[in-house]
Symmetry: C2
Subunit: 219 residues, 2 copies
Amino acid sequence: MSRPSRVRVDLLNISLDGYAAGTTITLDHPIGGAELLFAHFDGRFIGGVHSADAPITADRTATSIWGQGVGVEIMGRGKFGPQTGPWSDDEWRGWWEDEPPFQTPVIVLTHHPRESIDFANGTTFHFVDASPHEAIAQARELAGDADIRIGGGPSTVRSFLDADLIDFMHLTVEPIVLGEGVSLWEGLGGIESRFDVEVIATRSGLVHQFWNRLGRSGE
Amino acid sequence: MSRPSRVRVDLLNISLDGYAAGTTITLDHPIGGAELLFAHFDGRFIGGVHSADAPITADRTATSIWGQGVGVEIMGRGKFGPQTGPWSDDEWRGWWEDEPPFQTPVIVLTHHPRESIDFANGTTFHFVDASPHEAIAQARELAGDADIRIGGGPSTVRSFLDADLIDFMHLTVEPIVLGEGVSLWEGLGGIESRFDVEVIATRSGLVHQFWNRLGRSGE
């Protein structure tokens, strides 16, 4: 590849009113009470349709692109855990027990850096205080030619969109109205003009949106 | 997996009148003059969206499932070459020069068996005179737990559909009328009753159909 690797958002679920997470993340509510956003998510199909012996639907086909060719994830601190402020519990190793699904290096953005955490399955969490541009530069060093995934939550994705750093984004719009939560779109009025946005609807009621940044590729 | 591997048709292009190839295959016309069927095909995306640095569209996302988890292909003789009857030219090694895109064993169905042909990229063509059931049995031995792809042409796919051997089929309906050709559907009236058929349309004008055999899975 002659260009830098892509910066992608793979499979971000949002509500009709634009929320991609609930307001307050707790141990019992990792999505801040907005678990309805994952009503159609089938994690067995991330990475490919061969991963599960079940009917291959349009939703699962779209889900399957998650992670293909991705060499590193950048996530906000809230995706890693419910804590805020200085770390008081160094035992916390994320929500995923021994099998974080990332299997790549992961940069966790936080104002409170701490020691990296290694998992046997190839996931390593690095805790970094960095701007979006700085985080991308660090991610490129970790990912080489592979793509960089911005893994959420919504305020993290929003900050990378605001900095014009996202090349591709796959959104799934759930047919639900949350009424409150963390918005993906707040402060981003008109952002669609920077992208080619393609939309398909599936029979589950989901709308899949494929956002490709204009000007990146001549095809 | 407790069940046998799936038998799949990945990305078969058909016209509005149901043709998936032209009538007569020649050296100059490998699709029998029906090359319009491939107007939207982007081979760079087979196997995954990471294979090409170009916008990830809905069509390309659907294309990307081609080959994922497939361990063997079964094809009709017409897909391998334009010859008919006894082989007169043993130099013919298929349309693809040194890089057949299969990278697995391939069973070529023919009434005229000949020596197998090996390629350095993992593709091996075996020439076999077999019924659909016999071909599947041989393919299972070659593929192990991996899926079996029925690669076409349309009369080959039709014979496996008729024998009720297809578990999954991804069709793309091109918005064209060919008027003549080899039909996918001839003699298969009512076959949709054996499948769950999901349909999505994309802005290119393609209609993607996902056919999943009823009764295979508990989903």
